[in-house]
């Protein structure tokens, strides 16, 4: 065993007065934290194995369990924090790259929390969404520059292909493989019921889900897994994934152990082989190359489906977005540095990329300045946590937002950030049949629908308060935003004034 360098991060606390030894915790923990000692008729647990996913806490029928920080600490040091020291020990032990999951949890500013919304008083009436019409529909795609008329003077419909959504929220790309079949089914069914879209991610589309095509965005990533003509034509839109907020600049790696059965078939790669998405698309080294892929995809689909290009929010995001807006793409999706992932190197997740609020504001402004804002719609993702974030994002210039983490949380995710271990106790980020069955899509899709309906109500309430009765009127309406505790430069980039101004 040698020296045990790292003390467990969490402690599982069992209230012996409330525990009835029903062993539900033991049966439900894939990490084998809990154990029943029959000779002593009592439950014991090994804190070191606990990932703090709260499965046992949530299922304990007597509320006998809770999980708290273990509290063990090295000598306090503002520079060498417990986390920094533990990570160093771990690497000295293994010699490996540190892996993490989900979005960056570090203490960087959350600009959404430093932006406040406006409301009407006295001189301009607010609107009650329960009594008056309020439009939450949005349409994504390029807008025609000119009105064209035929020889009789009638308008020619020159509207490029659009996506129509009942509200400005979609489920972001999460591949079949990184999440389970049941998670995908929950997302697909919820999207259909809500009149929004979900996204296949880069793992192809399981044949069972082609029926949800009208509510599906099919993704084409650098690994080109599961991409074929029928796949491209099955969705409502095609997304080219150039980057991901959780890991800008690097590709993906789904271990061979997860490439089993249907996942192998869907991805069109042999069972047991690692699914490696290269960091770049090997055929894209310029905007011109990107344009070729955009038009290849449009050709395959008869120019009937909008093409989305998804990028991570990085330093030069404005210039990149400007290029994409000229590439023939219909929609740009930007993923902020807080965006989630099923597995990402810790150092990349926590140190690469920029906040989505700043990326969105600067991209929207740049495209306006260049007169090409109507060439594309903008979708933003990377930690949209509530309806307030949606409203702020739309007011900063987004046409729509992507939610990934929030959607998974509706399905049970407790942000334990252990997806890469493949033993998700909530049946989401795993392919083990005993675990995936824990997510019943009948329940999962209902919870997603509930969440989105709740957000839609709140969005309407907030818009009504501002005296706005449609998403279109809120879009890019930065006069409805004020910064709080932001410096001049931040306000300038966000294009908003400070509270009190």
């Amino acid at each position: 065993m040698g020296i045990n360098w790292i003390y467990p991060e969490h402690e599982v606390v069992r209230n012996r007065d409330r525990c009835i030894n029903c062993r539900v915790c033991e049966r439900q923990c894939a990490n084998e934290v809990h154990e029943y000692l029959s000779e002593h008729d009592k439950m014991v647990c090994d804190d070191a194995k606990c990932v703090n996913c709260h499965r046992c806490v949530s299922l304990c029928p007597t509320r006998a369990l809770k999980i708290i920080p273990s509290g063990n600490t090295y000598r306090p040091n503002s520079n060498w924090t417990n986390r920094t020291i533990n990570e160093l020990y771990r690497q000295a032990d293994t010699g490996g790259v540190l892996l993490s999951s989900m979005g960056c949890p570090q203490r960087y500013p959350v600009y959404f929390e430093k932006i406040l919304l406006n409301a009407s008083q006295v001189t301009n009436p607010s609107i009650d969404p329960l009594r008056e019409p309020m439009e939450s529909k949005v349409s994504l795609g390029a807008r025609p520059r000119d009105i064209q008329r035929d020889e009789n003077g009638r308008m020619i419909n020159n509207l490029p292909p659009q996506i129509s959504l009942s509200m400005p929220v979609m489920f972001s790309a999460m591949s079949y493989g990184s999440i389970s079949y049941n998670a995908h089914e929950s997302l697909a069914r919820a999207a259909q019921e809500l009149g929004i879209l979900y996204n296949t991610g880069e793992g192809g589309l399981h044949e069972d889900f082609y029926e949800y095509g009208a509510n599906t965005i099919v993704q084409v990533a650098s690994g080109r897994f599961g991409v074929h003509s029928a796949y491209l034509n099955s969705g409502a839109a095609i997304e080219i994934k150039m980057g991901q907020g959780a890991k800008p600049g690097i590709g993906g790696h789904l271990p061979g152990t997860k490439i089993v059965g249907d996942i192998s078939r869907t991805r069109m790669i042999p069972e047991g082989s690692d699914a490696i998405s290269p960091a770049p698309h090997h055929d894209i080294y310029s905007i011109e190359d990107l344009r070729q892929l955009v038009y290849s995809l449009k050709t395959v689909t008869g120019h009937k489906k909008p093409v989305i290009v998804k990028i991570a929010a990085v330093h030069n995001v404005t210039a990149i977005a400007s290029g994409i807006a000229r590439s023939g793409a219909d929609i740009i999706a930007i993923d902020g540095f807080r965006g989630g992932s099923g597995a990402t190197p810790t150092r990349i997740r926590d140190n690469v990329g920029i906040p989505i609020e700043l990326a969105l504001a600067s991209v929207d402004q740049r495209l306006r300045d260049e007169g090409i804002r109507d060439n594309v719609s903008i979708i933003v993702g990377g930690s949209i946590r509530s309806s307030a974030d949606v409203v702020k994002a739309v007011a900063l210039g987004a046409d729509c937002v992507y939610i990934g983490t929030s959607a998974l949380m509706a399905l049970g995710c407790h942000l334990c950030r252990s997806c890469h271990a493949g033993k998700c106790n909530w049946g989401i980020a795993t392919q083990e049949p005993q675990l995936t069955r824990r997510l019943n899509p009948d329940i999962g899709h209902r919870r997603l629908v509930n969440l989105m309906n709740a957000w839609r109500h709140e969005i309407k309430e907030m818009m009504g308060g501002m005296g706005i009765n449609s998403i279109e009127s809120l879009k890019g309406n930065r006069s409805m935003l004020r910064g709080i505790g932001l410096n001049e430069k931040e306000l300038e980039i966000l294009g908003i004034r400070h509270a009190g101004e």
Partner: protein, 146 residues
Amino acid sequence: MKKIYVNEQWCLGCRLCEYYCAFAGTGERDMARALAGMKIHPRMRIEEKDGISFAVSCRHCKDALCVKSCITGALTVTDGMVAIDQDRCVGCCTCVLVCPFGAVASTAHGVMQKCELCVQSSAGTPACVRGCPNGAIVFEERGAAR
């Protein structure tokens, strides 16, 4: 008639149903107080083998063998539900022997017990159905009884 059905596809084998069932019979308000240190005698049992699990409870057969075989008339069919009158049960276990589902079992005090769809409680929905974390146990109408 509404009955309890199990979709084994979604059964996790967590056995919460057994505990909610046992708790439902206690009349206590707090499960910890009701069941701490107790051996439970639920009217529903999880059967599991080779990664498949499902909860087994009375099917409320139309032509119930247990009712036919009961020597004291303790078992009756009431409104389509097989009910047991524990005051009349003498604990002969004939019903246990004849039930093809293994859905009748003895209590700690000798007489038999079986699922009576929580009709004694005022909840409306049986406790196992409400307690199942994955919607595997449902209480619904499914055509004619066999």
